[in-house]
Assembly symmetry: C2
Homo-oligomer: 402 residues x 2
């Protein structure tokens, strides 16, 4: 795809954005339901396209976990359709008043949610993200430019064609959902289109993040790595602590909200650790006790362990080695819990819960486009509301500035 | 100032940020009151330093309006002190819950306001902005790096020395307020310190904006130009329309919220315009009727005028030539008013009010660091709340991910 074609794609996205911003909730939900139906009735075509991607990935010796995330099955297609239906049940943020007041001069002031406009989403080779992101952007009144991992190209192409087909058939400009071709050159061009694109959301590895941060002229909300800690306090319920630590490391170790470093208060270390370490061993978890493993994101059955003198040392460690993602304390001591929740800086801070619960659905946001580690605009899981901004609506009766 | 010294300045800002984030409201207010006192008791020193800047600016033939904004007087110092006192009366956003709910699994979820961290503020040669910005950042728990226009260097230096002196005397790390030296080279280095700085807020001319957008690795909230329109609808109260139009252009033409283009419905143009144009003439306002003046920011007693067929044409014009700043419709027709308020995209949309009222104080936010034309994070006047973000606080009883 040539530079001019990429710029044109961004221009078309911008041109389409006013229309999707003004779409009624009912119409958006109807489109989502029709998309769900269209995905299910196109099962054969989708699985055939996906097969091409999977075979290529296998040939190129991608890791099993990578291939698993890339692979579509009839069951996974049904889950995608279900997810679209679930999004129809979420409340539409567009047009909601977030605040209103009257000024002494009699101006009626409201803050009203509006879509961000055009969102560029750069993500891994996961076809389910293509459908989910397109649906969340549609529901929040945004136009989206999708750029999935190149290994999922055939899958993403057929999926986006199906979604665009539904838009077209129902008289809605299909350019509110556009798919970018693979290749880093195209990404570089897109990152310069600040006249047409309002926000870039990159998810992925460090090299992609670095490139996006270096080149983007468009505001970026990063979905960066998670170096998540659990601190087991001296006043913890040790059985609860063990259950949570196992869950946070073992249930799905390749995710950004998995525990990467366990901090244990020395007062209970000899009492707490032997049983946990045995269970970690049974699950095949490697435990690293060297200081050079602090701050590492393993994304695997592997974690760092440090015994600390007390809660203050644990908080110091987290401030130094954490990545602003998810931090949890296990304790029955209310003072310690509140101290940790108040003073630890992360998008989600927790007491007595697994870090794996930092997720839009688990935390009650309905669905999410990812977890922001950028403090600006949205910090933590980003749901529909976080895909909007607010404008001021002012109603006067002739007021002027004195 | 050498590169290493600038980087060290940013590092010190970051190191100080946790402390200011945890400061109690009472202490912050006490510091602000002491700062107000210190400014008044240092009147002589401040005016002497300011005199150096003013003499240099006069020698360099800066415009009278520029020199006026640069000049400090005993009266203006009293206003600065008053503004500090006013900020003590604003409610402290830090620690406020913006939402809370319980998930089906029994997790208690809260969103809690926290400071952004370290804010870099780049602004014009206006010493009052130095004091106001430092105070708003302190009250919202943020560390600030100030970089005022180089023509105000002596004034800014003495003012920031006085503010820092109050911090030091009261046992607070003075590095929460730091002043950068003049020169573009230093700005370039600061824009790369994304490890230490969370947000850059630039205010100023187009060349500065372009440089900041091009070089910053830190998120930027722009306070860009205002190409503000007023549309006088066919159903307007024409007397009200005239009063508002005069106010929006004449009351302070050099500001970003002054009207730059007047759109008039052709149905009432011959009835409305003669009297207004006469009054404009009396005020020395030049009226430009060529299409090449659409979208221009005059910042002077000058404006573009276009007669349009109807409200739809007016909205089309604004979409094409507006700058997302402030847009106002004058009408008694409720349908037209709501159509305009709903569909026009700008940080502030108004009915029957002067664009000059887009201002944090006028709209009831208390005070402001400026008016954001970036849709992300804060769109419109930025008060104390907009200098914070939210984190999720989650309280569990042993919940894990299933």
């Amino acid at each position: 795809m040539k530079e001019a074609a990429i710029v044109m794609l961004a221009k078309r996205a911008k041109a389409a954005s006013a229309k999707v911003a003004a779409l009624d909730s009912k119409i958006k939900n109807l489109l989502l339901l029709k998309m769900a139906k269209a995905l299910l009735s196109s099962e054969k075509k989708i699985l055939e396209a996906n097969r091409l991607d999977v075979i290529a990935a296998q040939k190129n010796n991608f890791a099993p976990a990578f291939i698993d995330r890339l692979t579509l099955t009839p069951k996974r297609l049904r889950e995608m359709a279900k997810s679209l239906k679930a999004i129809t049940r979420l409340s539409d943020p567009v047009g909601k008043k977030t605040a209103h007041w009257k000024t002494p001069a009699g101006l009626g002031v409201e803050k009203v949610r509006i879509p961000l406009g055009v969102i560029g989403m750069i993500y891994e080779s996961r076809p389910d993200v293509t459908v989910d992101t397109a649906a969340l952007c549609l529901k929040s009144g945004n136009t989206v430019i999708l750029r999935g991992g190149s290994e999922a190209w055939h899958s993403n192409k057929i999926l986006s064609d199906i979604l665009r087909g539904v838009l077209k058939k129902n008289g809605v400009n299909p350019d509110i959902i556009q798919l970018m071709p693979p290749g880093h050159a195209a990404v570089k061009i897109i990152l310069e289109q600040d006249k047409y694109i309002d926000l870039i959301i990159p998810r992925g590895g460090e090299s992609l993040m670095k490139m996006v941060r270096g080149l983007s002229k468009i505001p970026v909300i990063r979905h960066d790595k998670g170096v998540c800690h659990i601190f087991v306090d001296r006043d913890a319920d040790l059985k609860m602590a063990e259950t949570i630590c196992l869950n946070a490391k073992v249930q799905r170790p390749g995710t950004c909200n998995a525990m990467e470093c366990l901090l244990v208060d020395q007062k209970i270390a000899t009492q707490f650790l032997p049983s946990l370490l045995k269970k970690f061993k049974n699950f095949g978890v490697k435990v690293r006790r060297s200081s050079k493993d602090w701050g590492k994101e393993f994304l695997d059955l592997e974690l760092a362990l440090r015994v600390v003198p007390n809660i203050d040392a644990a908080m110091d460690h987290i401030q130094k080695y954490g990545s602003l993602h998810t931090e949890s304390i296990i304790t029955q001591n209310k003072k310690h819990a509140e101290k940790f929740l108040k003073n630890v800086l992360a998008s989600v801070v927790m007491v007595n819960a697994s870090t794996r619960l930092n997720d839009g659905f688990q935390l009650g946001l309905g669905s999410e486009v990812g977890i922001s580690t950028t403090k600006l605009h949205a910090f933590g899981p980003m749901g529909l509301e976080e895909l909007t901004t607010t404008k001021f609506v002012v109603r006067g009766q002739g007021q002027i500035r004195r």
